[in-house]
């Protein structure tokens, strides 16, 4: 019942790009240094975010990544779901779930549904813009 490093890193990666948005796009090398995550691992993670249309890439020297939309348009849940899968607590709640014969009688399902709702309400309440704001309150020491 844990969020994987992939999910957590994806969030830090998106936040890092949002925070370091400038004339030049953000290079993975710099994010890797700031976040203490290997470039190679970040490459894998960001490829999913590129495919999802969350970031765009610019290749070659002075290349890097840029957010496609405003930070306020990305909820934390959107980012996590993109790299972690659907983020539901039990597979019965997945869209592709095969109907379980026990479903009609399953009272634990009520708990899982409410848990899912509670998780969504938090993860979809906050956006990258919130994280950016919080980070800026703390100060620039975050940025190398």
């Amino acid at each position: 019942m844990k969020i994987s490093t992939k999910g957590r890193y994806a969030l830090r990666l998106m936040l890092d790009i949002a925070l370091n948005d400038a004339a030049d796009p953000v290079r993975l090398k710099d994010t890797a240094d700031r976040q203490s995550i290997s470039v190679k691992y970040l490459e894998q993670i960001i490829s999913q975010l590129v495919r999802a249309g969350y970031v765009k890439s610019i290749r070659g020297p002075q290349g890097g990544y840029r957010l496609m939309k405003q930070p306020s348009e990305y909820t934390v849940g959107m980012i996590l779901r993109q790299v972690e899968g659907n983020m539901v607590p039990v597979s019965c709640l997945e869209d592709e779930a095969i109907d379980c014969e026990r479903q009609g009688q399953c009272v634990t399902l009520r708990i899982w549904k409410e848990l899912d709702t509670a998780m969504r309400s938090v993860l979809d309440k906050y956006t990258l813009a919130d994280l950016v704001e919080w980070q800026q309150e703390i100060g620039d020491n975050y940025i190398i």
Copy 2:
């Protein structure tokens, strides 16, 4: 980010014992039949619940298991935590977590803390007694 079978089965197991409480204690064999879970797997799961003092065992013929307390005294969260571990969404929130140097600057931690709180509020809101009630509303067809 999924609850394991062990957690889900533990809940169904506790519920099954609560529902089938009678003169004789509940045999794992019967629970296994009703719940379509192997006896061997249930043995492993229940051993953790015995050690935790949640159920008591009676050995030998006419043996089985009984709840130690009233169903209303077991929250869903208690049961899950017993077999799943601490159920926090990121290891930073574990009691035994080594302090992360990034902690002071980590704004994502705020999200994880709020997520954890939201999850707890659901999982500790409901007890076995609620599940028993719901199950009895549905009807006896649950019990073979």
